[in-house]
Subunit: 682 residues, 2 copies
């Protein structure tokens, strides 16, 4: 009986635990600057009305429509019943924002909710957009219906640059994929979409001036100019700037397929199908190269109205330059000591062209030289030291190191990275050059199908880091609790991070019966950093349809189990917690026998047979440890401990690109079981 | 222990049972006319190539793209790797189909798959479209990867008219909602989309000639002419005709809001917000009415190229005519004995106008008079008797009675309804007038959110009835097995029938922890027929966000449990089946204690408290019955039986719009337990 209940509660333990904490807590992500609870709550019903006062523009009307549409998805209530009541929500906008959204515009808002109505005030539409998202996050279901709790909020961002980069070159992302992720960005108040449009594996922006860029460099997968303009407008409606990136002089193989004369090698070039750093690079010694770039920048600058224009500059390995006698001769003649100096020359010329087109150049760490113009924005993927150097030189800088979503790291790791972290050497004046940061979604291992699950909800933790006061972003447990709520909230925006996991499991299994497969999936994580691409034989054609592609980056169940085991090992666990841990271990141990027959039936699950079997072994060991901890018959023998640790050693070996996330916790149990009996609880 | 495993297997029992039967079975819906298994299988990998031979047109290229896109969603494999191999699939099209798709065109195809390649042959693109859908359904995951088993199929439809009607008036459905349902129709080879565009609750088609129709009759929720043309093209690409319906003279309240002079009452009129049959009706006595209709038909006939034009004609109650002295006078002068005669006059004039615009008129049963012109198509919502009458009169007829999806009936009920059922009195020649049938999705209780779950997968059973040979559509168990497979398959088309259920549960619960709520949801069904709207106080503003709106129409788990109990009561159950039933009963009994606290926390779940508690009581009774059946200590007492039956009587009472689907099965157990011990197994 007990065990029957246990399985149910065990499987969903993490969400149960979280849910129990929530009802009285207001869950916002990012946390606002200041918030005061009032008493009572505002009811949402079909007559809910929103009035626009003060300054009005079409974007505000669209925002109201979008508010209603999201509210309707959140609540299932369509808000449109005609009535003569005063509006429940009054939006007062003082004035317009800049025609093209600028860095550092006023994004603050003031929100006041009572049991009879709500008022949202902002200096301009940007604040209104943010305030509406806060409102949508405040909606909760109660015994009285869907309500917004009475609350007063004053809010404004800590950093002016809160961005996300999506690499649309390595895997092309259809418009709707980007659009729904912009919706997600709006939900967490991010304000820059950095669009990585070209790389070795594809040139994705339609050029009329150089049509072979997309014509030969994209496999037909590119954005038309009309689509790019549409996306800029879509982003502006959501308070998001769009910064395009055309990465050069390295990462340009796809350009060179159509225009080999731009390259430093012999050609012909073919679209790159592998992942990594490749040799092709533009020829920085020819004037024709600069004329080409200048015309392309001019064409693209007209499509992207943002003040910034990103020209990449990362990871040029210089091998084509080294191998080209003409370029070597040129370097000698012009006194370029090495490839870095040559790239420095190239970069500064490109930056000047960008400036001549009225744009502020942006680029990765590599473009920063002592002589780099002060108007250049540095995007740091190397971290604090580069941030410090840039800021000290007087260059604006944004941080991306620590925010790489493709590394599949726990949200907590991203969360604890601060744009100002490690920059203590800077003066307060210099620190002002640190404008914020950008998460980065490189797309070697994501397709349009699983990209949402790599971005969300973790990106919410980064968004909070960039928006909320530093003092309010120290509590990791609170972050995780709110991240879980955000995850559910984001489904109302059509994001597929949560739904794709079971759907991919069903495909793998060839049946809707995936409960046992999910028991396994729930406690494994994909390998971290670049381990998969380094050790695997991935290329652009590799299907991303395995367990490792389907599961969330982080096992919330493993995280909860770790907490349980820590308390158990420390002797501070309550009985219910010990029961919960034992039931989980039992579930895991018994899962293999039920799952194994299914695993053999599909080519996508056979690789999981040893993983499932490892889980059984680990769980069995955990249960044995439990037995010692509870039997009261003295501690486990050293012999048992050593053989157990050896088994765990085997189980920790990564298979199918997966990490079994419970091994560490079970090891802790084993150590506790073989330690002195004095530490046993009760 | 056992009980722990049991919960897992119990919860997903139905799918487990089905999945176990599948690997060797080819699961197609609709069943093809003839199919022969070959040996081996064709592998799907990123190099899979499709070649178009013979006649080619853009629609075939689009169909190939769509094939790749669905294949990619099915498999997670993007098929685009360039290669020089011969194509794996060769499509040979003999010639074109009609410029505007006609009733009765050749839709047959021939499909031959071996381990090295596949060939799809058809007389025209319509057959190709159907053949591609068959191919997509043949794809299965095996230990060797995704494959299409070697098979030879000859296929053609039994009926030429295989339609689905969607009512977009009572609840407006956005374009993408219709589009994804057309994708689903293509998947099951349906070929007519009947678009119910006007009714009392909304006029949804943009008219330039009479702009107040949508201007005052739609709350701004209508389809532009451009959108309607786009949908016609979208449907044609999928081998689907589009028949528009403008229902008159009743069901016209929304028309009269903008044009009250068309009405027979005093006006002013307001858009109807309730469900039911209402009094407003067009005035059949004025020539201005006919001029209006004529111009509107002319305008819409140009948008909808199909040969058929539906003018409704159902449920005109005549009350406005009865109350209007001028109309009464007119009837007297012209010798119309009653309202039906007046409507007959109206209908025949409208039919003539439709014909003058080059269209074949279609309408509901009510328009059939002895004098009705032979060119008029009758859509029967009354059933066989009307079908028989129409066919005998020489009118073509399609059946909808028995295919109303809004009645929330089991798929089996729809499945066993045949367009020729009950028409034995017809000669074979007369039977040819029965062109087929149409499922009908009236939208009182569906929104864009839950409509997919009302249509799919059940609509697949109707599609099969209309496509497959009568002899191949008698096995209900096979149908259910294949329906479950179809359900998963349809998710690759973006249909949300499966995903919406857990999402709506999460919203109701205000948390992602819905496992216990789902235990309850899995064994209840919505009330059937019109019971909800009759007994409830529903209107157009009522949120459709309750359990009754979220759950599938049919509890597959209850169906399986019923089968188990039947075998147990008959004494033919195996031990494993008895275990399974006992475990399910245990799960249900214990669920209430765990779920009840959650139910109280949300206004959307408080109504489920008594349902959950009833489930506990019923399950407890079932377990007691089990005890008697297995104890070997003699049969249960009459006293126990009577008190148990009384409890079940209480539990069967419908609450929250729901039916507890296990009561009947438990009653059977109770009866078995109190019957003679001789019937006890082993």
């Amino acid at each position: 009986m007990l065990s029957g209940l246990a399985v149910l509660s065990g499987v969903t333990m993490s969400s149960v635990t979280l849910a129990q904490k929530l009802p009285s807590e207001i869950s916002l992500m990012p946390e606002p600057q200041s918030m005061t609870r009032g008493s009572g709550e505002l009811l949402i019903d079909p007559t809910f009305k929103v009035e626009l006062d003060g300054y009005v523009e079409p974007r505000l009307n669209l925002a109201r429509e979008r508010f209603f549409s999201t509210l309707s998805r959140e609540t299932g209530i369509t808000v449109w019943k005609p009535n003569d009541h005063p509006a429940e929500l009054r939006i007062v906008t003082a004035g317009a924002s800049k025609p093209v959204q600028q860095v550092g515009e006023d994004e603050s808002y003031h929100l006041e909710i009572t049991s009879v109505g709500a008022e949202l005030k902002a200096a301009n539409p940007l604040g209104v957009l943010h305030g509406l998202q806060t409102l949508l996050q405040l909606v909760v279901i109660t015994p009285r219906g869907f309500v917004i709790p009475a609350v007063t909020i004053d809010d404004a961002p800590r950093f002016v640059w809160r961005g996300m980069m999506i690499d649309t070159s390595r895997h092309f992302m259809p418009m709707e994929t980007i659009e729904r992720n912009l919706d997600g960005m709006e939900a967490v108040k991010m304000n820059v979409f950095h669009w990585h449009l070209s790389d070795d594996q594809g040139f994705r922006a339609e050029s009329h001036v150089y049509p072979l860029l997309q014509g030969k460099g994209s496999d037909g997968q590119f954005y038309t100019q009309e689509q790019m303009k549409k996306l800029v407008a879509y982003a502006r409606d959501r308070g998001i700037r769009v910064v395009p990136e055309f990465d050069m002089p390295g990462h340009t193989t796809a350009w060179l397929v159509g225009y080999p004369e731009l390259g430093s090698g012999k050609g012909p070039y073919a679209i790159e199908r592998k992942w990594g750093i490749f040799n092709p690079a533009m020829d920085p010694t020819r004037e024709t190269t600069y004329r080409f770039i200048d015309r392309l920048i001019g064409e693209m600058a007209a499509i992207f109205p943002d003040a910034y224009f990103h020209v990449g500059g990362d990871e040029c390995n210089g091998k084509e330059w080294d191998a080209n006698p003409r370029i070597q001769e040129y370097m000698k003649q012009h006194g370029f000591k090495n490839d870095a100096a040559l790239q420095g020359y190239f970069s500064s010329r490109v930056q000047r062209m960008v400036a001549q087109h009225g744009k502020i150049p942006a680029g990765w760490d590599e473009i920063l030289q002592p002589t780099t113009a002060k108007n250049v924005l540095i995007q740091s993927w190397h971290g604090p030291q580069f941030v410090t150097t840039a800021a000290r030189q007087g260059n604006d800088v944004i941080l991306s190191k620590g925010y790489y979503l493709d590394l599949i790291l726990p949200a907590a790791e991203h969360y604890m990275v601060d744009p100002l972290g490690g920059t203590a050497a800077l003066t307060p004046e210099e620190q002002k050059h640190v404008l914020g940061g950008e998460s980065a979604m490189w797309s070697e291992l994501v397709s349009t199908e699983n990209i949402d699950g790599r971005i969300w909800p973790r990106n919410g933790a980064i968004a909070e880091r960039l928006w909320s006061p530093a003092a309010k972003t120290q509590d990791v447990d609170s972050m995780y609790r709110r991240l879980e709520v955000l995850s559910q909230h984001l489904q109302a925006y059509g994001l597929q991070h949560a739904s794709v996991y079971p759907e991919m499991l069903e495909r793998m299994a060839g049946t809707e019966d995936i409960q046992r497969l999910k028991v396994l999936g729930d406690i494994v994580e994909p390998r971290k950093h670049h381990e998969r691409t380094q050790h695997g034989s991935y290329d652009a054609f590799t299907p991303l349809n395995r367990m490792v592609d389907a599961i969330p980056p982080e096992s919330m169940q493993a995280r909860e189990f770790e907490h349980l085991c820590a308390r158990i090992s420390a002797g501070t666990a309550m009985d219910a917690e010990r029961d919960q841990a034992r039931e989980l271990l039992t579930l895991w141990r018994d899962n293999d026998a039920l799952l194994a027959p299914q695993l053999g039936a599909s080519s996508l699950t056979t690789e999981l047979i040893p993983v499932s079997s490892s889980l059984r072994v680990v769980a069995q060991t955990g249960l044995e440890a439990f037995g010692y901890l509870e039997s009261g018959k003295g501690k486990a023998t050293a012999e048992w401990r050593d053989s157990s640790l050896k088994e765990l050693q085997v189980a920790v070996k990564q298979q199918a690109g997966l990490m079994l996330m419970v091994v560490g916790s079970v090891r802790e149990l084993v150590m506790a079981a073989s330690a002195s009996m004095d530490s046993k609880p009760n």
